[in-house]
Assembly symmetry: D2
Homo-oligomer: 280 residues x 4
């Protein structure tokens, strides 16, 4: 495929015009967001689109929130979509930030972990005493990448899952898009799992319900367009190049905060978002 993308929304558009059997698509619009849900049902559609079967919810925003405007329509839209995909109840949840914090456009996952509210170590009596009744146990782990650790991301997560025994795993990762205009403004949520590094040409082991044994929800924000998606007309090794907005550092920071707060709200529905915002 010429136009490499991690967004099912884009992949499915490339096969547009053809009969889209095996795919269901729904749209809903709020004040500042457009939410599109694509469900890939048949093996044939999965193969044609190049994505595993499952649900892919894409939340497109006019622009990303900033620190002082986190609590608005964008947050509540993301929260609502997350709540639909994350198993409810009070079972422990493991959130894993994937990616390399030393490469700015890949740092979304680790940066997001700085604002996810870990609660598994908070004694329930203590939680109750400080007015946090019914706190759901949450773990937050920045996994690093294979080149930093020597361990596959999926292997680290599997190890911790075996020990922590969460009822669901949530992955946060930076994505590649084929479109400049979606960078930093779109969030994809899927229950189909991911294959880290597949977005940048080097596929690692799949991380999914199939490999971990519990539901896996992956949240991603596109932060780069591969340079060879754009025709460079040059014989250089553009495979190591990326196209990214000039203000990428700010975008990563804002997207990481937004995703983290939406997660905190979806995981702790009984606590006021403003209070969650103040603890992380």
């Amino acid at each position: 495929m010429k136009n490499r993308t991690d967004l099912a929304l884009e992949s499915s558009e490339f096969v547009n015009g053809k009969e889209l059997g095996g795919v269901r698509k729904k749209e809903k619009r709020s004040d500042k967001t457009l939410v599109t849900e694509i469900e890939i049902i048949s093996d044939e559609a999965s193969k044609r689109i190049g994505k595993p079967k499952g649900r892919y919810v894409t939340v497109e925003m006019t622009e990303l929130s900033c620190d002082s405007e986190l609590v608005d329509d964008r947050l509540f839209s993301l929260k609502a979509e997350l709540e639909r995909l994350i198993p409810g109840g009070d079972g422990a949840v493991l959130v894993a930030g994937i990616g390399n914090e030393e490469i700015t456009p890949d740092a979304l996952g680790p940066e997001c972990m700085k604002s996810v509210f870990p609660t598994r170590h908070i004694d329930s009596q203590l939680a109750s005493d400080i007015g946090f009744d019914g706190l759901r146990p949450v773990c937050a782990l920045a996994t690093g990448v294979l080149g930093q650790t020597g361990i596959e991301t999926g292997e680290i997560i599997k190890s911790v899952v075996d020990s922590v025994k969460p009822v669901a795993v949530i992955l946060v990762d930076a994505l590649a898009s084929s479109s400049l205009k979606r960078l930093g403004k779109t969030v994809q949520i899927t229950d189909a799992g991911i294959t880290p590094g597949s977005g940048v040409g080097n596929a690692r082991k799949e991380i999914s319900e199939r490999t971990l044994g519990v539901p896996v929800i992956a949240i991603g924000v596109p932060t780069v367009v591969d340079a060879d998606t754009i025709s460079s007309g040059e014989e250089a090794d553009s495979g190591d190049m990326m196209v990214t907005p000039r203000e990428i550092d700010v975008i990563i920071h804002r997207a990481a905060r937004l995703v983290a707060l939406a997660l905190n709200c979806a995981l702790q529905p009984e606590i006021d978002p403003e209070i969650l915002l103040s603890v992380v």
Copy 2:
């Protein structure tokens, strides 16, 4: 004990004057280092000194190396002591950087992981092709701290040990000293394991050969003196205060680089230190 310290060298000095039964002590001096090995043999000595039984090697330097002077006597002295404690052979080794990278004096462990050379994922044929014959498999993991992850440091390490099955675990951590003059200039290496957070008053679960099932080597550099070790004469909550050198950011960076390079050299004895220095 009034003078809280993570250094066995200091703890054993506090009981000085008394009979030091159950403790062996040796010193050797090189150009820029003084190496003291203390072995706590008896349960009674362990209790009196307040440290688990085991070997504690303290490498004291006149000053820490800088980037342009890494390969000298200090490095080789550290390397030699590490080689004596780390099991030899070609079995996999897991290096874990402990501590909070967002609190400067506690960031030694995570900072060090940036320069440890992970090799477990490098195919031996590829390694051989690029002249790295006999590369020992090494993993490097920054574990985060309980308040960031919701998971005990020891639990994360145990999980990964169960999966990676290393022949030894090496921990890197910042320590507290009771002496201002040792900050940033001393490295302690021990086979007695550690209890993360014990140095700052909140003990977590022990991480040791007993809990992990493989030899555990802990490497630490003192970066703070607790404010209540120094008599503050004030009724404030000095327990949350620390005394640290003004240039702590530089010290952490240099100490992390030095420890990482010494580890890389000790773990890959067949590779030239200058080459190891250029790959991380």
Copy 3:
């Protein structure tokens, strides 16, 4: 004086018990702040207290604001005190962040400059078009320190003042306190100018209305206690040591944001604080 401090509030307390001729002192209390204004009137009082003549307003808070709670009583209290000291009107103002951004407790000034809203380059027609009528021209400069630049802080500021010709200069700097309990929770505002480095034992050239020719307002937050203020009982070079809270990185970030937003509000009284918060 044994207890070194940059806070006039503390200096004047040390001479307590004696007759405090030449000093006026007023207190007012709000919900979350205690504001004390000390005016040193006579040369004799100046000499006795060890501070230049002038007004020193100290705003003490129960705790520093966090990102999600910036707009409250603490902000408005700071804003009100700043408005009393900063010359009104629409003349240009130069804000200078003093200190070394690579030494965490000294990074308050440079960190604060990241959130001060510079406006001098914004065309008034453009400002009006986007609803920012009556924007006062503001410049924001992180000066670095002598060891980084080879130029005295005061010389850089004087150079820029000669070119920009502001009606007032505002300095933001980290201070030393003699009390652990004031670190990160107190803001001092003074019209008496400062002598950079005097707080850490190496006095540089004075920066004041006398040397710059326009009113100089200095804003400072204590972030360290000198280690020799606390009796260390050790012969080490504690002059290079400091006592600082463990969470100093967070404190610097919050204090810098609070001071910056209070400045933005005081300098642009016609613009809604919430909007100012969203532009920086």
Copy 4:
């Protein structure tokens, strides 16, 4: 011009094929570098190439140095070219790092200032005492950008020049190239001055011998290709996009260190490069 570039070497190639009157071009090759000097002599050639008259020395390397290999052919080649352009003698030199440290590919200038050795404040007697006889006075200033300070970069530099009165000004800045393969591997040195921001479409005031009154040497490393230089085939606002290598953070760090050390060597010819490397 379709192919926007800050490199005179590339600009002059675009007009290739035509008669290159008014331009002199010389090449010399060393072990790891290719040095090309282009001199634009006539107004007509200046207009045709789109660069001011002057000398443009381009040092192309097979790859950038890393920390452990700084002192080699690349360094000495850069040093030699700098020495040919920087006025000799012992007059003070002002080095200014231009660009925005918060936008990674634009951070070359400020990052470089962290390693330039400032000496103007070092007393000559003290310098002599520590074996640094004949130290030339050097100042190093990170100017920030207009959006951060509200002051034109050229205005800040002019202010400081009026006060410090250096015999030459050296500017360090990130550049745009039209070629992916030159990113991070090429250094341009010119005596023709610069116009900050011209490389990214928003020209600010010229900074040159004409505006400052002393010789101005500009040193630049290309770190981005504008996204519209590459044909994007998309209607998005690619003007805010850039193409940059994935490892841009590492490249900026290495290039900044290399340029700084070459400058330190060229400005302090009597001091051993290894010693200069250890002081910054």
